[in-house]
């Protein structure tokens, strides 16, 4: 039990890194990883919601009656999601257009609700903050890795930079839906191989 704040933070980066270790939040993982930009944007948006929701849930855990806790968590999460939605419209409209309905769908991202229920409602503010930040950053890293693989193979570019020279024929399968599933499956396999050693 006696984990330090540092450990709470670090576990999100490898031990429990979503979506590889905690197989949750797969929809945004597959949907927005067509390009690195979108992947990072989505990761950061989720991190913001995760951290804010974790803090507030752990602060209010004494006040919220346990019978309606899920409803309360959902209201809290939905509020922060709408905050992200508004801010993104105001400051990063293009990203908002690219991510489309997947911004409001952060509400139903099981990672966020899962952390509120499993961690924040049972812990104090500081560890909850560290937990949220760790899981959020872990999620961002995963999205970045997946989108880097998909974008580089699928279009031959990363953030607009040509990678392989002109003779490269883009493997556009990778940016389509089947490529997303297979890419995530293979990365999961690599992850299992690395950690089983």
């Amino acid at each position: 039990m006696a984990k330090t704040i540092g450990q709470e933070f670090v576990k999100g980066l490898w031990e429990e890194i979503p979506p590889f270790r905690l197989v949750l939040g797969l929809c945004p993982t597959l949907a927005v990883t067509k390009s690195v930009e979108n992947g990072i944007g989505m990761g950061l948006a989720t991190t913001f919601v995760l951290v804010c929701a974790n803090i507030l849930v752990s602060l209010l855990s004494g006040v919220i009656p346990s019978k309606i806790r899920i409803a309360c968590f959902i209201i809290i999460i939905a509020t922060f999601v709408t905050v992200v939605e508004l801010m993104m419209q105001a400051y990063a409209y293009q990203l908002f257009q690219n991510l489309g309905i997947f911004i409001p769908l952060i509400v139903v991202n099981c990672i966020v609700l899962g952390r509120s229920e499993a961690f924040a409602s049972k812990n104090k503010v500081v560890p909850s903050f560290a937990d949220g930040l760790g899981i959020g950053i872990g999620f961002t890293i995963s999205l970045t890795v997946i989108s880097a693989v998909r974008e580089s193979l699928g279009t031959g570019k990363i953030m607009g930079n040509q990678l392989f020279g002109s003779s490269f024929e883009p493997f556009s399968f990778m940016v389509e839906a089947p490529g997303a599933f297979i890419c995530l499956g293979l990365l999961l396999c690599v992850m299992n191989m690395v950690s089983s050693k």
Partner: protein
């Protein structure tokens, strides 16, 4: 019973806090968001028809009320003179309303060019209206008044092949734009003078 009351209170307080916070944020950022939407949604269409403008037409805009509706006009400064206005009009297409941005030269009353902003036409057939410049160029140089009709209806616009309904929708949108322009021409001319290079 006490528990029940507590539940209701918690939910009500939480929801009203969240609603209040969001309404506040929304009000604060409304203007910025509107700006962003104009820049990214209408912006490309406006820029494509006012290529020669030396200013940013999205930033230089005014609004007039026509038949109780607010209509936004974008001013383009060409050769140092604020002589072009662009505004949007709608026509009924195959899949609902089709929006057309029309740019008019206020000195000659001639249409400079048109561009499609929003449409819901069949992909591959009506949707060609986005890219078919030959079709759209037919409107350039015509007086912004009177009837715009496809040849089938006795007009002089050649419809896009296979997409008569869409072509008609564009015509009726342009015609409405012309009507609006005639209705508020003097106001437009007054307003435009306020913008100088």
């Amino acid at each position: 019973m006490r528990e029940m009351v507590k539940m209701v209170i918690v939910l009500v307080v939480l929801s009203s806090l969240s609603g209040g916070l969001l309404a506040g944020l929304k009000n604060k950022y409304q203007e910025r968001i509107d700006n962003q939407i104009l820049t990214f949604v209408k912006g490309p269409a406006i820029h494509s028809i006012l290529k020669d403008a030396s200013n940013d037409p999205v930033a230089d805009r005014f609004s007039l009320s026509i038949n109780d509706a607010e209509k936004v006009f974008f001013v383009g400064i060409i050769d140092g003179v604020p002589r072009a206005v662009a505004f949007e009009a709608f026509g009924g297409g195959y899949g609902g309303d089709l929006g057309v941005m029309v740019a008019v030269d206020v000195q000659t009353d001639e249409i400079i060019n048109i561009s499609v902003t929003t449409h819901n036409e069949t992909p591959g057939i009506g949707s060609a209206v986005e890219t078919d410049t030959d079709f759209k160029n037919q409107f350039a140089g015509k007086k912004a008044v009177g009837d715009f009709k496809v040849k089938n209806d006795g007009g002089e616009i050649t419809a896009m092949s296979g997409a008569t309904v869409t072509s008609k929708a564009v015509c009726s949108a342009v015609q409405r734009a012309g009507d609006m322009y005639q209705q508020v021409k003097s106001q437009i001319k007054d307003q435009v003078k306020n913008f100088t290079g």
